[in-house]
Each structure stands twice: as structure tokens, then as C-alpha cells.
């Protein structure tokens, strides 16, 4: 399979928020530090995924682990910026529910050969909805300039990344069954918006709060 250059650029773009996070580490609050750890974890996951793929070993289990890390990190981050008790409780319940579903799904087949649509699709849809809700909450409660807050850039990046991949992730196996050409064509959305999202995530670390 001939991997397009954009795929390499997309994979490398994960380094930007990870590096920016380390650079500003001292001034970051705990939830932002959790995101930095997540971005570094993503870099590691990308390397493992690529190594396994080039060695011909199925890497779906790594993608699944990454999805759990992504879900928990973003939920933890968003929960910190929402002060309404009901919303905070809803985020906590949603996180718990996803973790239970993830372990249930993985317990049937820890090393699946096929792409796990359920884990990826549910995570994507849930994070997309939570990002939309948190950005709306911010708009209603914030008195200052939204663009000076890191959570705004994280929300924007998350909404772009998750909205562009929700269809692709939910129909992953169907797309793979169509052939490599179609898969590569549709995966351009994932690669392209990943780059944009990572730029926005990097921008978030330039904010003081």
C-alpha cells in the first residue's frame, strides 16, 4: 500500500501540541497537563501503530487503547471547565459508561483483526456532542474574550476533528471492504482535519488561562 504524504504529515503533526505542552508545562493547570500527556501518548501510539502496520501485525488493539485514552483525557479536561453540577455529573456518568462499554467490547476480543467501529464511533459521537455542549456552555457563562481561553481552541479543534471523522469511524469496516483506494480517499478527511486540529490544540497552549 502506497501511503500518501499527507498521512505522514498528519502523524507528525501530533508532535506540535505535545512539544508546545512540554514547553509551557510549568504554567499549565492540571487538566491542561493531562492533555499534554495525552498528546505525548498519541505520538507514542502513532509510532507503535506505524511500526506494527509496517511489520504486518494488526494494530487495531492499539487504536482501541488510544481511543480510551483520548476519551478519558478530553472528558477530564472538559469537566474542569464546566462548573454546573448537573453537567459535571453528566460528563462523569458518560465517561463511566464509555469505560464500561470499552472494557466489555475489548473483553470479547482483546486483539481484534478488524477495525472496532463501536468503540471508535461511540467515542467520536460522544466527544463531538460534549465539545459542542462545552463550547455552548462557555459562550453562555464566559464574560471575556473566548479566543483568549485555551478551552475554546481545544473545543474548536475537537469539534473539527470529531465531526470530520464521525462518519468514517462509524463505517470503518464498510469503507475498508470497498478497497484500499476508497479507504485512502476517505481517510484524507481524517489526515487533513487532524493536521488542522493539532494546529488548534497547539494554539491552545499559547493562552494563559
Amino acid at each position: 500500500m502506497n501511503i500518501p504524504i499527507i498521512a505522514y504529515v498528519s502523524a507528525s503533526s501530533h508532535i506540535a501540541p505535545a512539544a508546545a505542552g512540554w514547553w509551557y508545562w510549568r504554567r499549565l493547570s492540571l487538566p491542561r497537563r493531562v492533555l499534554v500527556l495525552y498528546f505525548n501518548f498519541t505520538v507514542l501510539i502513532e509510532i507503535i501503530e506505524l511500526t506494527l502496520a509496517l511489520s504486518g501485525i494488526p494494530n487495531v488493539f492499539v487504536i482501541n487503547i488510544h481511543r480510551l485514552g483520548e476519551f478519558v483525557s478530553f472528558m477530564y479536561f472538559f469537566r474542569h471547565y464546566v462548573h454546573h453540577p448537573t453537567y459535571r455529573e453528566a460528563l462523569m456518568i458518560l465517561s463511566m459508561l464509555y469505560i464500561v462499554l470499552w472494557f466489555t467490547e475489548v473483553s470479547f476480543d482483546p486483539f481484534p483483526k478488524q477495525y472496532t467501529e463501536f468503540i471508535n464511533g461511540v467515542s467520536n459521537i460522544a466527544l463531538l456532542m460534549v465539545s459542542v455542549a462545552v463550547s455552548f456552555y462557555l459562550f453562555n457563562t464566559s464574560h471575556g474574550n473566548l479566543t483568549s481561553q485555551s478551552v475554546f481552541w481545544i473545543c474548536l479543534g475537537a469539534i473539527l476533528a470529531f465531526s470530520s471523522t464521525v462518519m468514517i469511524y462509524s463505517l470503518g469496516n464498510t469503507i475498508l471492504a470497498m478497497g484500499v483506494e476508497q479507504f485512502t480517499l476517505l481517510w484524507h478527511f481524517n489526515w487533513g482535519f487532524n493536521i488542522v486540529a493539532n494546529i488548534l490544540f497547539t494554539r491552545s497552549f499559547l493562552c494563559q488561562q
Partner: protein, 164 residues
């Protein structure tokens, strides 16, 4: 590209992804525009308050009547305009405060009691004698600021008692 045209599922996925991303961007555009509008409104209100403050300050500074803001229990003068300072032959609000306490304690004790009781005082007569100057008669009207110990007062000089 013929494969895309032939495969309706791919078309559906592409179109729905484009629609979703467009909605996402539109949603954020609305949020940013709304936030900017709110900030602009807040700024306009701040400007209005600042202008109002400036107008009040001009009125306060240039008034022919003596004006002051004071604590009627401790008699600390928080603000006083130039006219009032001249009336009492003082240069600073602190000096004025000393004059109130040292020279006119009885008058101001009564004023304090009335402001505490009624919340306002109207045309209270203060006879004053300053060193090297003829006796003066001043009228003080003041109003208490809510339930606080702060009052705003206006002082006018009604006549001089030079001829008496």
C-alpha cells in the same frame, strides 16, 4: 474519480462529512460573532460609564457650591471640591476633616446624629469663624448613601456677618 461517482455510499459519506464540518465551522462562527458582540456591548457600557464619571467630575470640580463626600461617623472627608476647600480656607480634604473635628465638633456631631436617624439633612446652619476672616454662615444639605455611613453633602454660603 469514476469510482467515487459510481459508489453512492462514498458520496453519502463525503457529503455528510462535508455537511457536518460546515455545521461545526458555522456553529463556531456564530459563537465567536456572538462573543464579539457581547464584548462590544460591554465596552460601550464601560465607555458610557466613563463619560458619565467625567461629566460628574466636571460638575463636581466646577460647582459654585461646596460639595463633598464624607463619612458622617468618623468625619473622614473622602472627596471635596475646590469651592468647599476655599470656604473653609483649607488646601486638602484632610485639612478640612481636621477643621470639622477640631473647630466644629458640636455642629458635626448633630449632623451625624441626624443623618443616622433620618438619612438626610436639609439646610443645616453652620456658623464658622476662621482666623483673620469675618464670620460666615454656611448651609449644609446632605444625603446618606443607602445604609452606609457615607453621605454626600452640598454646602452654600448664604451671607457674611461682616456688617453685624
Amino acid at each position: 474519480m469514476s469510482t467515487v461517482a459510481d459508489n453512492s455510499l462514498i458520496q453519502i459519506i463525503i457529503v455528510s462529512t462535508v455537511v457536518l464540518v460546515t455545521f461545526a465551522l458555522g456553529y463556531f462562527a456564530v459563537i465567536v460573532a456572538g462573543n464579539r458582540k457581547i464584548i462590544a456591548e460591554q465596552q460601550a457600557k464601560i465607555d458610557e460609564i466613563r463619560k458619565s464619571e467625567e461629566r460628574y467630575k466636571t460638575l463636581f470640580e466646577n460647582s459654585v457650591a461646596g460639595m463633598m463626600k464624607f463619612n458622617f461617623t468618623t468625619w473622614v472627608v473622602l472627596e471635596a471640591n475646590q469651592t468647599l476647600l476655599v470656604m473653609f480656607n483649607c488646601t486638602t480634604p484632610y485639612e478640612l476633616q481636621r477643621v470639622f473635628i477640631d473647630v466644629h465638633f458640636d455642629s458635626f456631631y448633630q449632623i451625624g446624629k441626624m443623618l443616622t436617624k433620618y438619612g438626610a439633612i436639609d439646610l443645616f446652619e453652620i456658623p464658622i469663624v476662621l482666623k483673620g476672616e469675618p464670620p460666615k454662615k454656611l448651609l449644609l444639605s446632605a444625603r446618606r448613601e443607602g445604609k452606609t455611613e457615607i453621605a454626600h453633602g452640598v454646602v452654600v454660603q448664604v451671607n457674611t456677618q461682616e456688617k453685624e
